[in-house]
Symmetry: C2
Subunit: 341 residues, 2 copies
């Protein structure tokens, strides 16, 4: 079984974006604010956007199951206040949940959180509880920079975040670290902000001692861990200089990297440098890079091809494709176990 742990609903019906535009317009002009009930998307519409996109590609590329969360760039936690984020998160999470009920063999939901810059993170817990308890979410996406490229929140090692971590540990679900759209013109969203965030958070974890306080907390750092595996020597050296234990001991019990690296040499470096136990298969398909590589004739984000072409053993590939995901996402493992019975 091949589990893609990093899928977003990037192909939602146009009505979602239209509703969001009205919500944004309503921030400045409350008379324009739409009701949630004005957003009507039928099951057939959901089916169509999935069958012709994600599901089609999953079948073509041979992946079996996707952990599916709202479109990352649309989270845009910097827009409006907590109320705006709460309404928006609720809508987006419900859509992913509905996709998971329409295609129960193919999609399992993960939740976005209604973060808002400067607002206590406790405010996210009711949505988290609903998504896990009612929707069966197996993970959340955690935005380390809800300001959208201004980095005004404290590092993820700060006690500011602890109330959320307590709940994640209670529920035994991991958080994928994932920023959203950059509203800082210096940072291109998918070409700089995403990758920078991955690198930034990893280094916060090296600097801090978060997993002393939360030994069972688990973070997934997407996009192949940003710059980290490429600069693994730098991080090993910095951990030494900061008088930390080895990275293996200090962070690799709790931190996992996905395989959203869109060329062969990148995947080869990742799988050579990072222990196999810490690598999770993912493509983020129909995401940042949707084109076909003219050099190979295949989609850049068809990451399975790269993994297949590595010298990893069959056992290692199975760890990356499936076993590690079941370990890091135990609620997913239990859901799969239940289905089998």
């Amino acid at each position: 079984m091949i589990i893609d742990i990093h899928g977003h609903y990037t192909t939602a019906p146009k009505a979602l974006e239209t509703w969001r535009q009205r919500q944004i317009a309503g921030i400045k002009a409350p008379a324009l604010k739409p009701y949630v009930s004005e957003l009507v998307i039928s099951d057939d519409e959901l089916r169509e956007t999935i069958e012709n996109n994600q599901l089609k590609l999953m079948r073509e590329r041979g992946s079996d199951l996707t952990i599916f969360s709202p479109r990352a760039s649309f989270m845009a936690h910097h827009i409006g206040d907590f109320e705006v984020s709460a309404t928006w998160a609720s809508i987006c999470n419900e859509l992913c949940y509905r996709v998971s009920t329409l295609f129960p063999d193919y999609f399992v939901p993960a939740a976005m959180l209604p973060q808002s810059p400067g607002v206590a993170v406790e405010t996210c817990i009711p949505e988290l509880v609903k998504c896990v308890a009612q929707y069966g979410a197996v993970a959340v996406n955690l935005n380390p920079d809800p300001s959208g490229g201004h980095w005004t929140s404290p590092p993820l090692t700060d006690p500011y975040w602890y109330p959320l971590y307590e709940r994640l540990v209670d529920y035994d679900i991991p958080a994928m670290i994932h920023v959203s759209t950059s509203c800082n013109p210096c940072f291109h969203t998918t070409g700089a902000h995403y990758i920078n965030a991955d690198t930034t958070v990893f280094m916060q974890l090296v600097q801090g001692n978060l997993f002393k306080d939360f030994p069972k907390l688990r973070f997934v750092i997407p996009h192949g861990g940003g710059a980290v595996p490429y600069h693994w020597g730098r991080y090993r050296g910095l951990a030494l200089a900061l008088d930390k234990p080895s990275l293996t001991e200090h962070v690799l019990g709790n931190v996992f990297f996905d395989t959203c690296v869109y060329h062969q040499p990148g995947i080869e470096l990742l799988t050579k440098v990072i222990p196999t136990e810490n690598i999770l298969f993912a493509s983020e398909m129909i995401g940042a890079v949707r084109g076909i590589d003219p050099d190979t004739g295949h989609h850049f984000d068809d990451t399975r091809r790269y993994i297949e072409a590595t010298p990893l053993t069959a056992t290692q590939k199975q760890q990356i494709y499936s076993d590690n995901a079941r370990r890091v996402y135990p609620r997913l493992a239990r859901a799969l176990e239940k289905k089998r019975r």
Copy 2:
């Protein structure tokens, strides 16, 4: 000949830091502001800090010449106003110049600029002119984020920066893109901010068309190009999606990566993915990562070892060690030619 294009004066006599602390204290309490003349560092002191550090390691590791600029983390352009930066840049540049006159066979200066957030970049030109015309500087370090981690300046493709670029093209000198200390607690200086800046600026160049306006402008992106070579597929795909020419055509005529990547697999990826013509030997020795790798018994930043261990041909190694530097830094090439006569 082996040219290390990325060295900073990280070992300057303690008096320099003490003077800077007094200068910083003087921002709030003008009575404490020191005179420049109060900073007295003898030639013998300079000699000692170089002979026992950079020069010793250059001899041990077998590099012949270093392009030597002020300590990057000490530039701290976010501190004080333009006047503070101008005085500080002038002092630091003069020290690197003095080192180059004391050890003319081993060090060639590159200049820091007196940048200050929100100040017109034209203000940096007098210092640049002095450093090139009087000190023989062969390059400058350009900070894309003088705010120190808040990224308040426009992208490097913005006309804000053009007056500086015009001068760089006139002088035929490259700019190394190099941020300084992060004063944003989210970003560790050498573990996140440096690497993020490299990635960020590369993506700005992919998004923009800067080299249409300045076909002869050259940027060196240090630290192995941040995350870029590891995510080369992502950048190739994003260029396609943005309707840009191939990266080779769009940026690689003007952008060069150094070899400050502190482990073997990283250097192997860099040299496999990026054309040899675009790679410049560098170590940034006695910099971010000063320790010895317990796995190899060698310094993390002894990058020559990694390059030696790649399957590159002797010709390719010579390009990386020397030929490319002469091409990218023509004033260095001319200085070396002069010495030979």
